[in-house]
């Protein structure tokens, strides 16, 4: 666990300058707030996150942790919605997922949890597997290979 944390920290440094892929720019107001509309919103992209702040400038440590975990895995093409810009969305998404806090993470339209659960999935390897199901190859797999080759 310590080793993987060390690696994570190193990777964080490397990724520090590469924020802002195309997917990240798609952050936008969702318009309506009905369950159907939120349903469409979370299903529109394979990876959808609701944050306080933006991926480039998270306004909360827990939201930042979600951004950093996705970055570690090389997930760049995801939709991020800033709930601080949109009070209706902030409440709407909590009601939709029956989850009282932000951040919230959706994979393939399915609610997976907040920061604690994503961190847990990162640490126990589940996140790599879940991303694989979405056709996203975690870059941590390649890093592991590199290290084994050395």
């Amino acid at each position: 666990m310590n080793g993987s944390l060390g690696r994570a920290a190193a990777a964080l440094l490397r990724w520090g300058h590469s924020a802002g892929g195309g997917g990240l720019r798609r952050a936008a107001s969702s318009g309506g707030r009905s369950a159907e509309q939120l349903d469409a919103l979370v299903k529109k992209d394979k990876v959808v996150v609701f944050l306080k702040g933006t991926p480039e400038q998270p306004q909360c440590g827990f939201s930042n942790a979600v951004v950093q975990i996705l970055r570690l895995h090389g997930v760049r093409d995801y939709a991020a919605y800033n709930v601080l810009d949109d009070p209706e969305l902030r409440q709407g998404i909590k009601d939709y997922s029956n989850w009282p806090t932000i951040p919230q993470v959706f994979l393939n339209g399915e609610f997976v949890g907040g920061c604690d659960i994503l961190l847990q999935m990162h640490q126990n390897g589940d996140l790599v597997e879940e991303l694989k199901k979405l056709g996203i190859r975690s870059v941590l797999l390649d890093e592991k290979k590199d290290q084994e080759a050395k």
Partner: protein
Amino acid sequence: MLSGRLAGRVVSMAGRVCLSRSSAGAGTVGPVEAAIRAKLEQALSPEVLELRNESRGHAVPPGSETHFRVAVVSSRFEGLSPLQRHRLVHEALSEELAGPVHALAIQARTPAQWRENPQLDMSPPCMGGSKKTRGTP
């Protein structure tokens, strides 16, 4: 009658807040923290229940009870996914989460999982979100 009782409670709450401010040390327990502990104990009969008020690291007034981290160790979590475990904690604390509590980090473990790594983790540092939204309803 009801309002009398309510007023009494407000006074006693105010008293406690003042108390915790004057002593200002770690380990003072506010009314929200006490309620969280009592409700989790009742709902999940945990073997271990560790609770930390992390509000001081955030842009809220001194003595606030807005940000918490909790480790709940209960055999009730056996066979449940992380999502289901967190939902049980949320349900027990629905009143607090709808009211004063702004952030709740949860470590929901079975007794065996807790024995592997028996510690309350640290939360990531605040990045000013509540400062930005402070004062807005």
